[in-house]
Amino acid sequence: MTAFCGIELAHPVINASGCFDALAAREVFGDSLIERFPFAAYVSKTVTLGPRAGNPPPRLWEAAGGLINSIGLPNPGIDAYLETHLPAYAALGVPIITNVMGSTVEQFGELVERVALRDEVAAIELNVSCPNVATGLDIGADPHELERLVTALRPLSAKPLIVKLTPNAADVAACAAAAESGGADSVSLINTLRAMALAPGATAPWLGGGTGGLSGPAIRSIALAQVASVAASVAIPVIGMGGVASGADAAALLDVGATLVAVGTETFRDPAAGRRIANELAQRFAENAA
């Protein structure tokens, strides 16, 4: 068992927000998914106040050792999320972390207040880092703004608040420390790095959103550096992610100070990656103990 902000988890591997649609996966892989859910907790895709359609396609570009996405945070909005999605997630049998994003402190406040009312939710993750949406980035990259935001949100919920930091910052450790000062219970990182690709044979951007965010093995070593520097700078637990594809990758993040590890892009290649990585981790611990 792994303890995280007072929540008991079966193992330290969870999904990265936006990289696993549990309802779609159940539709595709059937109820066996719930019996053996690959992750120790389920993190929702980012939810905003109103519904969002997301960016026009194409939304994906395969990069060297990774993926660039410009999905653009499509989601049904907080009403539909709370009414339809959340009760369905609750049936997964693992703690639910709801990830929210607003463009202003007020929007964030409304989102946190509404989510706080729901017993199904174990923790709230604040996406202040999505590189596809200008507002989220601006708050998350500036320690002062970030501290102000978290300070304002802290009184609105007794649930653990996780701040998902932006990696597109000069000093991520300073941002993490600001989140901690504001009252965050945990920080998570890294989100995708701003990236771009041109259409083959053309001079225009390939992605409908213009730019996108890079994830996958290409960002693994950047994630490790940022998680190490953040974990050394704050006392609150850290959720590490970025390019994790194996137990060894997960172990490295734990070794530099993360409490949990999240898996995103690798689940696209292997839908059972969460379970596989948790098993590989358990085996490493067993070998080290022996």
């Binding site: 936006g18 990289c19 696993f20 649609d21 779609a24 996966a25 539709e27 595709v28 892989f29 895709k45 359609a53 997301g54 026009p56 396609p57 194409p58 939304r59 994906l60 570009w61 395969e62 990069a63 060297a64 050792g65 990774g66 993926l67 996405n69 999905i71 499509p74 996958g216 093995p217 892009t265 689940t267 696209f268 290649r269 292997d270 839908p271």
Partner: protein, 240 residues
Amino acid sequence: MVGRRALGAYVVLEVGDEAVAAAPGQFYMLAAVVGWGGGEGERPFLGRAISALFAGDGRVGFLLEDVGPGTGRLCSLAVGEELWLVGPLGRGFDAPPAEREALLVGGGVGIPPLAMFQEAWGGRALLGFRDARHAAGASLLKDAELATDDGSVGHAGYVTDLLERELRAAGEVCVYACGPPAMLETVRALTLAAGVPAWLALEAPMACGFGACFGCVVATHDGFKRVCLDGPVFEAAVLA
């Protein structure tokens, strides 16, 4: 992988799988276990979406054309090499309504869904190809009428010319189509104009194939839909 043969410009792969039956139009995500990625540009990284050509008795078949690093590697696989396989995925074609004749319209690597459709429910096939080498793929269906861009086999021109002719001949038909985007767009326009029901099996760049990434969307009158989850088969009338 248990079997491999060349078919004109294509390669047909046969892969051992725990034999879930796939519906016409369903697909799998495929990747080679060894030699996936690296080399120039370090691609492929993600799996590649490939339609089932047949499925059952512990085997799944695929029809491939080498158009890039992913399909290139899959085409180069030798018998005995291992594959990552996720599927069958997506919503395929439904059985055709009894009162209408099914017209199967497609071409290129779009023919596997049509071949499975014909095997299951019959239907008359109109197929288009670049040239004679590609037209060899038509042997996967029965009694297909052909068109080639270079006129080397069948009608010289587009397969949609053949469809236009059929739509003018006022029979009660419905259309099932799979092929390159431009072909499907023409099928959509023609059938809509003719008031004939049509179902299209679309392609889109995919990262996951099971609804996780929201990367493969297509615009419909009901907003963006995931091709891998809500499709790849869509009714022509719902597409925006």
